[in-house]
Symmetry: C2
Subunit: 117 residues, 2 copies
């Protein structure tokens, strides 16, 4: 059984952007923290929803028909199959949940590795 | 597709303790907020892990062999099958994730209803 994870402490262990770190697992999902800055690219996950909780900063999640803006303490779930582009206004810290093995970029060729911290 | 959920606003819609409210769904899981105060009872979930993120206050999660203490911004996942007893020091607000249909008490007879807010 893992120890509890302090999200701020885990975030302090790295500086790279768009490279989530796994802090815990829940059933077959990775519970991750990530630092985002600026735009990511358009992508979708065919097989899974995508859970975002903003911890600090402001994150726009662009969808093809609208943009969802998340401030700290706000949750949004992008349904599976829905194209989205996260755009961070400055530096943004998030809690992210995806099934273990899901490529964060929507494509295994460009996915960040899953790193446990 | 649901709107984003502001956790503080969702928490402000109710006052009862140990009665989680669903604010979003992720795959087949309920993303919930709950207000805890004092001790819950010993229970376990045979089929699922149990995800806790403390949003405010201090939560002890008693296990049979030790106690895990969570402050705001701290995550702990109780593995499936592991007996645990949450004990809130005063009022505690949490984000909780369990598969849809999981009885929060570990027993359908005593489970709080799943209420969407």
């Amino acid at each position: 059984m893992k120890a509890p994870a302090n999200l701020a402490e885990k975030l302090a262990t790295f500086t790279d952007r768009f490279s989530p770190r796994t802090v815990a697992t829940y059933n077959d999902n990775d519970i991750m923290v990530a630092k985002l800055e600026g735009p990511f690219h358009w992508h979708k996950h065919e097989d899974t929803d995508d859970f975002f909780l903003v911890l600090s900063g402001t994150l726009d999640i662009e969808l093809r028909d609208r943009t969802v803006t998340l401030n700290p303490g706000e949750v949004f779930v992008v349904p599976k199959g829905v194209e989205h582009r996260p755009v961070a206004r400055g530096e943004v810290h998030i809690l992210l949940i995806e099934p273990t093995g899901t490529p964060n970029s929507g494509d295994k060729a460009t996915a960040a590795p899953r790193i446990l911290v």
